[in-house]
Structures are given as C-alpha cells and as structure tokens.
C-alpha cells in the first residue's frame, strides 16, 4: 500500500479520499476534518472564496500540504466555467480545476455537453482538469482525448447520500478509461465509499456525508478507513485472480 500512489497532473496522492468545503457548520471544522481523514485534496467553490473578506476567507482553513481543487460551481455554460477556472488560477488557487456545469437546479445534474466543451478549452490552457459528469463511456473517452486529468462520475445526485446508483455505468468507465476515475457525489456512507474502491475506482470525493455529520472529524476518519479498506480489497482481489489462473492447470492436468 505504501507504493500505491495515485498520480493526477503533477501530484502524487497517497490518500484516495478527496473532500469538500461546503455545508460545514463552521470553517474551523475543515482543518480538523482534513487531519482526521488524511485527505490530500479538497474542493472549494470559487464563488465561495472571498479574498477581500472582512469576515473570513475559507482558504485560510486549508493547510498548504493539501491540494486545492477549485470548482466551477454556479457555472451554467462552458464559457462561464472557463472564466471561473481562469479567475481561480489568477487568484492563486493553482492549476487544478473541477469542472462543474449545472443547468438543472432541480436535481443538480451535470451538463455533460457543456462540461466537455470546457474541458477541451481548459486542458489546452494547461489546467489539470477534473470534469464532474454523468457516467457515460463515450463521453469519458472524449474527455480523455481532450486532455482531462481524471473523470469524476456521480454515484447518485449531489447531496442525496444514495450511494452507487450508477454502479454499472461507472464500472464501464473504470474498465475502459486510462485516466483515473474518481467517484464524486452521492456517496453517503463509508461502506459505499468502500464499495466504490472495491470495484476499482481510483478515488472518491465525499463532501455532504462528512460535512453534515454530527461529528465531521470522526466521519472523515471513518471514510478514510473505508477508502483504505476498499482499496486494499481491490488490490488483494487482483492478486487472487492471478493465483486462480495458476491453480487451474491441475484440474486439467490429467489430459496431458
């Protein structure tokens, strides 16, 4: 497990739980949650960042060793997402960008077409692009070709905690994409995060379930353990499958 590194862009992650900054009862909970969960990447909506704030700037609560993943939440078109990404970069938030284009305020479903357009533009500009999408294999391959650094399919609609409702579709992505697949949105329980990792997701992004828990710090720890358990199981299963292949020969040995 020590050598099990996930590389996205120019960063090597040894922890496969990504987290978010939304919905917390207080920003002071964020550094505690990060410490407890071991999360090495956290997403923050650019629209929530207030550099000139007299009140408080959310960025001050994110330790320097945690990679910032600004997101384009609020964007309704590719053009807006592109502009938000550029503003984020100018504001010193780094080159990572999670593209979130939502034109449906009722279910908050990502708009795959606009997301693809934004990815094409931003990848060319050197951004490390992580598009948030509905799991759709042909689209994922297009994102890959457009230069996306990872693809982030939703497990269930944002904030619903319903788990891996789109599992069979995500499995196709895992099987066929060469870029990392990060399950984002819908994961409500550590067991669901473990399930995503067991099936071979490269990472999961969890916000609501941690931020709205009575004890976000403890829930962050629980998700970290679950992600590690799922990842370990996934790696262990691979080893077992190769063992099975070897074991098959004695069964037909009498034919030799």
């Amino acid at each position: 497990m020590e050598n099990d590194v996930l590389k996205i862009g120019n960063v090597a992650f040894t922890n496969r739980l990504f987290t978010g900054t939304g919905k917390f009862a207080a920003n002071t909970l964020i550094p505690k949650m990060l410490a407890a969960s071991g999360s090495q990447m956290i997403t923050v909506a650019l629209r929530r960042i207030d550099q000139a704030a007299q009140t408080e700037n959310i960025l001050e609560y994110i330790p320097k060793n945690v990679t910032l993943l600004p997101n384009t939440s609020g964007a309704r078109t590719a053009e807006q997402a592109v502009r938000i990404a550029r503003i984020a970069r100018e504001a010193g938030c780094g080159d990572f960008i999670k593209i979130e284009v939502i034109t449906d305020m009722k279910y908050l479903m990502p708009d795959n077409l606009e997301t693809l357009k934004a990815t094409e533009i931003l990848a060319k500009e050197g951004f490390i692009v992580l598009p948030y999408v509905l799991p759709d294999l042909p689209l994922a391959k297009r994102l890959e070709n457009a230069g996306a650094a990872a693809v982030m399919p939703l497990g269930a609609p944002i904030g619903t905690n319903r788990g891996l409702e789109t599992k069979p579709l995500i499995e196709l992505l895992i099987e066929n994409c060469t870029i990392p697949v990060v399950v984002d949105a819908g994961i409500g329980r550590p067991s669901q995060a473990a399930e995503a990792m067991e099936m071979g997701a490269d990472a999961v992004l969890v916000n609501t379930a941690i931020a709205t828990a009575r004890d976000p710090e403890a829930m962050g720890r629980a998700f970290n353990l679950a992600v590690k358990a799922g990842r370990t199981a996934y790696l262990a299963e691979l080893a077992e499958q190769s063992g099975l292949a070897r074991a098959s020969s004695p069964l037909t040995g009498f034919l030799d």
Binding site: G22, K23, F24, A25, A26, N27, A45, L46, R47, R48, D50, A53, Q54, T55, G74, R76, Q80, R83, I84, I87, T103, D104, M105, K106, L108, G159, T160, N161, T208, A211, T212
Partner: protein
C-alpha cells in the same frame, strides 16, 4: 400555459372539507413519501398535522442539512425609493399614506452601499415601490451597476417587469429576483390592492416566470400571510414554486414567509398565523420542496429566528432597515415599509447563527459579467 391555470384549477377547491377528512394515518403516510405529491403536501398543511409537528420538524431538519448543510446565507435589503402609485391596504408605502417620499440618487446609493459593505455583507437586495415614472428602468440599471461594484450578489425586489427588462438588469449585474404575490386569492387581491398597476393580478403572477425567462438565476416567491386563508396561500405558493422548478430547470426557486406585521397605517389582517402554524408551514414546505431556499426576514423577532434556524430556513436578512436611506446619515425617509422586530446588527445575527452550530455565509455567489 401559465401558473394561472393551476390557480384556476384550485379555485373551487374546498380546503376546509379536505382538511376535515385528513387522518393521522394519511399524514404519517405523506410524511414517509420520498416524493410527496400535492395531496401529501395538503395533508401536511392540515390542522390535524399540527399533532405531527415533531416528526415533520425532524424530517425538515434532516433534509435541510442534507441539501444546504449547516449554513445560513445572509443578505441585507436596501430601499432605494419609497415612491409608490399603488394603494396596498397593508403597506407603509401606500400612495395615500402621508409620508416623506424620497428616491436615492446614485451618489446616495453609493454611500449606502459603502456603509453596508463595511458590515461585511456581500449579498444585497434592493427595493423600490411601484412608480415606474419616478424609478424607471434606466434608474434601476444604474442602481444595479453601482451596487455590483460593492457586492458579490445583487438582487431586486421591484415592480414587475417585462422579460427583456429582467434581462437588461441581469446583464447589469442582478442575479436574483424577489416578488411576492401577496395573495393568490383573486377576490382578496382585488380588495387589498385598491389602485395602481399592482391591481393587475396576472401581470404580477407571471412576473417570476418572466424573470426566469429573462435569465435570473434565482426567483423568490411569497404570500403575505394574513391577507387570505393561510393554508391555501402556502399551498398555492408551493405549487407556484414547483411549476417554476419544473419548467425552468436552470432557475433556483426560493420562498419567503412574510407574516403580517404592523406597518404604517392601521390595517388589520383577517388571519393571524401563530408561531406553531408558521413552523408547520415551514417544515411542510421543506418536505414538499427539499431544494427550495426558504427566506426568513427580520419581520420575525430575534428569539424566534434563532429557534427556527434548524427547521428549514436557508436565508436570513440581517441588520435590515426598511426605510429609504437607512444605513447612512441620509435619513430622509425613515417611515418603514413594515416594522422590523429583529433589530440586531449583522455581527449579532451572525454570532447567534454560530451559537446554534450553523455557519453564517456572507458570500456564495458571484456573477461573472
């Protein structure tokens, strides 16, 4: 089709008879639905459902935390003019009221904006009466542009506009629109709106839809509770919200729950909504419309606002003045549109929100023009 068809559909509906037939079992079933129907919502609005208030509150709390987190978005109203041609029986700005009228100049709006910005507020809602000849579109556009220089989010609560006018304001930096129908009951509407353009029920009813068509990110509806039978008003407000949600997927829909409050003049409302019923309405709305914003203004007193915070509310006004020029030394037209009962400043409201284990959010939007 417009929402008016739904209004008509329920015109002859006998709410009282429906409510009489609601059983505890029906309420429990409605409460357990993942996607409550209009009938489920009516069950939850029934007087009998008051006995189920605790489980309703638990569900409302859980849904609000799930979709909005433990956060409350803060905004501040800014009255830029109290000129008004309407005669709304209940309103302090009623044309017939002999009050000092003033329209802020853009320079005065600038001063007010600076004073508000010093409080840390980032979301502003600017308001006018309905006097198009005195506060025309050009003035609104200038006001919007001026405010956008100081705030992350600028919202309007002005007289109903045309689609293209909403679009112009959107381009000038306005992202949200608030407009209360006041009452969905056409007879009552006619009775309390005695003069001016506001007499046109349809023009007002369809304004939120025009705002959505004009590109407003968010529209905020509301009945003025007290004018007509409140359960039917809440019911139609929620159906109006759902109508807009379904038709305009890109638009966020929010609801305000203004309860009648003593303004200038001596209007006596026909109905009073007590605290318990208010909470029932709020929790029922959250259950029926899980993702809709719920705005609670300073019409409600401080202690009550602090207590209802976990039950479905998502947006609070704070540090409000409902007179024109209320934030600076302009102080020319201090007669309020309605009386404020939570007169704490922004800092105090924020501290109270934190004390309840919630995060006061000053900025969660930025319109990139």
């Amino acid at each position: 089709m417009s929402f008016f068809q739904t209004v008509e559909q329920y015109q002859g509906f006998d709410y009282e008879q429906f409510f009489q037939q609601v059983t505890d079992a029906a309420i429990e079933r409605s409460l357990a639905q993942e996607k409550p129907t209009a009938t489920d919502f009516l069950n939850l609005l029934s007087p009998r459902a008051a006995r189920h208030l605790e489980p309703m509150a638990e569900k409302a709390h859980q849904l609000t935390v799930q979709y909005f987190g433990r956060t409350i978005q803060l905004f501040i109203p800014l009255y830029i003019s109290n000129h008004c041609s309407n005669q709304c029986a209940y309103c302090g700005f009623n044309h017939k009221n002999d009050i000092y009228r003033h329209k802020l100049t853009i320079a005065e709006i600038e001063e007010e904006a600076q004073a508000i910005a010093r409080t840390g507020m980032q979301h502003v809602l600017f308001l006018t009466g309905e006097a198009q000849h005195l506060t025309p579109m050009e003035y609104l556009v200038e006001a919007a542009a001026c405010l956008k220089r100081h705030f992350a989010s600028v919202a309007i609560e002005v007289y109903p506009l045309e689609v293209e006018e909403y679009r112009r304001l959107q381009q000038a930096g306005v992202d949200s629109m608030t407009l209360f129908q006041e009452t969905y009951n056409q007879e009552v509407y006619k009775r309390v709106h005695r003069a001016g353009k506001k007499m046109d029920y349809h023009w007002r009813l369809n304004a939120p839809e025009r705002a959505a068509q004009g590109g407003m990110r968010s529209v905020n509806l509301g009945p003025l509770l007290g004018l007509a039978e409140p359960r039917s008003e809440i019911f139609l407000t929620a159906l109006h919200a759902r109508y807009l949600e379904n038709k305009y997927l890109e638009t966020e829909v929010a609801i305000s729950l203004p309860r009648f409050n003593e303004a200038e003049g001596d209007f006596q409302p026909d109905y009073l909504v007590d605290d318990k019923t208010f909470v029932q309405f709020m929790t029922a709305l959250r259950i029926f419309l899980p993702r809709a914003g719920l705005t609670i203004s300073t019409r409600e007193n401080a202690a009550f606002r602090d207590r209802i915070l976990p039950l479905g509310a998502t947006r609070y006004s704070a540090g409000s003045s409902t007179g024109v020029g209320g934030y600076t030394e302009i102080k020319v037209a201090q007669t309020p549109q309605f009386e404020i009962t939570d007169d704490r400043n922004v800092e105090e409201v924020a501290a109270a929100i934190k004390a309840r284990g919630y995060q006061p959010v000053y900025k969660d939007w930025d319109l990139i023009i």
